[in-house]
Subunit: 426 residues, 2 copies
């Protein structure tokens, strides 16, 4: 569950003043009358999951877990950011499991691809390739390299059980391959764009492969979809967040810094950068999303936030209950003069750092802070959070009056690139 | 070596117009008359390395490598960012070595500390603790936890060879501990602040532990110090970079996005965020440093850069020669229609993505781009680059008229935190 805390924004506002506008936009969203509404299939999906599909996802995940030391997840953008955010948050850093999940297909880096090839040598390997069109260059490139590796190692027949594809239902380059080879496959729906695809097989399969309870994830999504369906801004914290960030933007805060206090949450910031940056960064508009992981980055970016240019506000993703905790030990010699913390839990100490920083940034630095409190780092809460941000984003982008669901600017460098690469037809 | 390319800034400027101002500031830097000049010991260090110290660093590193599976580098901010940037760039991701370097002491996260404790179980472990005062809370906390682990495992005597401390020459909490226990230790000079400390034992020892050639690193630093000592802006690319970023800032570009095309360079961006953000983010001033690693992040932040708010310029860190490379393989079936790339090197493909994006962002998106070309991902070039940015930062901060060498804002949250934690005296 999520609790929004707006008491550190420094704003003087009355939600009632915006009530009608929010209701109108909510109607546009629900009735699919807003810009880009053909890509709002994520509105119904929470209530339309097919038992058959979920069952197959679990079966395939279970098989890949059984036969693999490493499962390569081959996708870029929305085809990996959500699953990575989930796994990092729910499993944590340095998690020990029989199966290691490695994200590839998200770079042209020769360093990365060659090193992963070396790293998987001698290990049992499978791959889940995720691409709607089968034409995303980074993903296609890595998929060819690793598919050839797997086919060389296990033979054409032996590799069939190790290659799973998530793609368009009928179209694209991957369907003929699936038909020819007999790979298991899953569908990316036409009406759900990449930034929202973590709630489809795109996110579900990698999460299941990592051992995450996807039933709980779906339960969180559904509860969240119900909770944030209220058209009344007084009762809808997702819409409150959307409104407040736009009010701050209008006041001249051009950047939103996503802040957390744990490395396991850093990938959520990367996912949020895509969700908000790619959805809103168009027509010369949009809030620049940035991120820090504190207290680590208080020792690099803290000075800027505290006393630098007054151009940013902070949005804190605070998870109450940690994955792990321990008591800070006593030391009879106390050379480090740290015994005043003996017996305190590390998580308590981390929380004090967070609260102290919040006060310093807000009260002295005059930096507006929005706080998003999340109960726990588990699959249910991850699903709940994801859908909170979906609803917030749709509302926010319509307040800003942009189409939240397209990304025309991404095509520009691609066309340039294809020309340089000598792709036929360019 | 570094080559600065300013042909994509979109600016109309004449360096001659700034020549006198730059010369004056250069004199302030060299003659130590500028703000905070008591912390410019990094100006002389390139020419004052002590053979004795370098020899000892190599010996200790060699010993730790011999007796360890894992060496924990325990430090935060400037006490880890430089070494991490070096190791990530020069060794690369997934690098295989007998010794693994893990950075700790840079967080209060219970998740991180507990997981590292579990991860090192059964492995041979050593630690290098890096703290000027011995009073940095994150570092002291982790150092106590891991020192106790090592003492429990190897005994008081057996642990002495496994604990190495880098700290103030005489002051601070760590000196009495060193004296009592007999640990090897290295000195952080008084006149070199954290952001510049990568060129001291703070950076040298972890780099040597990771198997990096520190003689080459020092050679790069020295050549760079000589090259960028020229007071004439026409002949000093570090000063050119400093000036151009300030001109862009004045034109309303409030954020500088550090861009690279390889995950191995991502940590350089984190190091740069501290160097520029912490040095310039004061008195309500400063450029907000942000970062992306492309082509990966073109699929999240690319849309914003191309078509979003016109508030940022890009600074590309382009390394010409990769650590690894391979040819993209042919596929007789060509389901993915990627055979047009068969036989091309992955690095060449990555470079086309970079050049295509540069053109799209600059020509169509009208986003100013500064390009910093670096020959190779090796120790020499890393040293050369580090010193380029030192000189650029000093010039840039003085152009902005702030003290580049203090960080008063960092103390504010710390005082708050000590109060909340119940630290004696607060």
């Amino acid at each position: 569950m999520i609790k929004l805390d707006l008491s550190y924004t420094g704003l003087d506002y009355n939600f009632q003043d915006y009530s009608e506008k929010i209701k109108k936009i909510n109607r546009d969203i629900v009735e699919k009358k807003g810009k880009g509404s053909e890509f709002t299939g994520w509105l119904e999906l929470p209530f339309n999951y097919q038992d058959e599909e979920i069952k197959k996802i679990k079966e395939v995940a279970s098989r890949l877990r059984k036969i693999s030391d490493v499962v390569l997840i081959c996708g870029i953008g929305g085809s990996y950011l959500g699953a990575k955010a989930a796994i990092d948050m729910i499993k944590g850093n340095y998690y020990q499991d029989d199966v290691e999940v490695i994200f590839c297909g998200n770079t042209f880096s020769s360093n990365e691809i060659v090193r992963i090839l070396k790293y998987i040598e001698g290990k049992e390997v499978s791959i889940n390739c995720i691409s709607k069109s089968g034409q995303t260059t980074e993903t296609s490139l890595a998929f060819r390299v690793f598919r050839q590796y797997i086919e060389n190692k296990y033979g054409k027949d032996g590799s069939v059980e190790r290659i799973v594809i998530t793609t368009d239902e009928k179209k694209g380059l991957l369907r003929p391959l699936i038909a020819k080879k007999g790979y298991d496959s899953f569908v990316i729906p036409d009406d759900i764009g990449g930034r929202f695809s973590v709630i489809t097989a795109v996110g579900l399969l990698p999460m299941a492969i990592a051992g995450i309870d996807i039933d709980e994830f779906i339960k969180g999504i559904k509860d969240s979809a119900i909770n944030y369906s209220n058209e009344d801004i007084l009762k809808n914290e997702a819409y409150q967040y959307a409104l407040i960030r736009n009010i701050l933007h209008k006041k001249g805060y051009v950047s939103e810094m996503y802040v957390n206090y744990d490395f396991t949450l850093s990938s959520i910031s990367e996912w949020l950068k895509q969700l908000f940056g790619e959805s809103e960064g168009k027509d010369g508009k949009g809030i620049l999303p940035t991120s820090v992981t504190n207290s680590t980055d208080l020792h690099s970016m803290g000075q800027f936030v505290q006393e630098g240019s007054k151009i940013l506000f902070e949005t804190i993703i605070n998870v109450e209950e940690p994955l792990e905790d321990m008591e800070f030990p006593n030391d009879s010699e106390n050379f480090d003069e740290m015994n005043y913390l003996s017996g305190k839990s590390l998580n308590w100490i981390n929380k004090q750092a967070y609260l102290a920083t919040l006060a310093a940034h807000y009260e002295i630095g005059k930096v507006p802070n929005i706080i998003i409190n999340i109960d726990k780092a588990d699959a249910y809460n991850f699903g709940y959070m994801v859908y909170f941000f979906f609803k917030a984003l749709a509302m926010s982008a319509y307040i800003l009056d942009v189409n939240p669901f397209d990304q025309p600017g991404v095509e520009i460098y691609k066309a340039n690139m294809y020309k340089r690469l000598g792709k036929p037809g360019y």
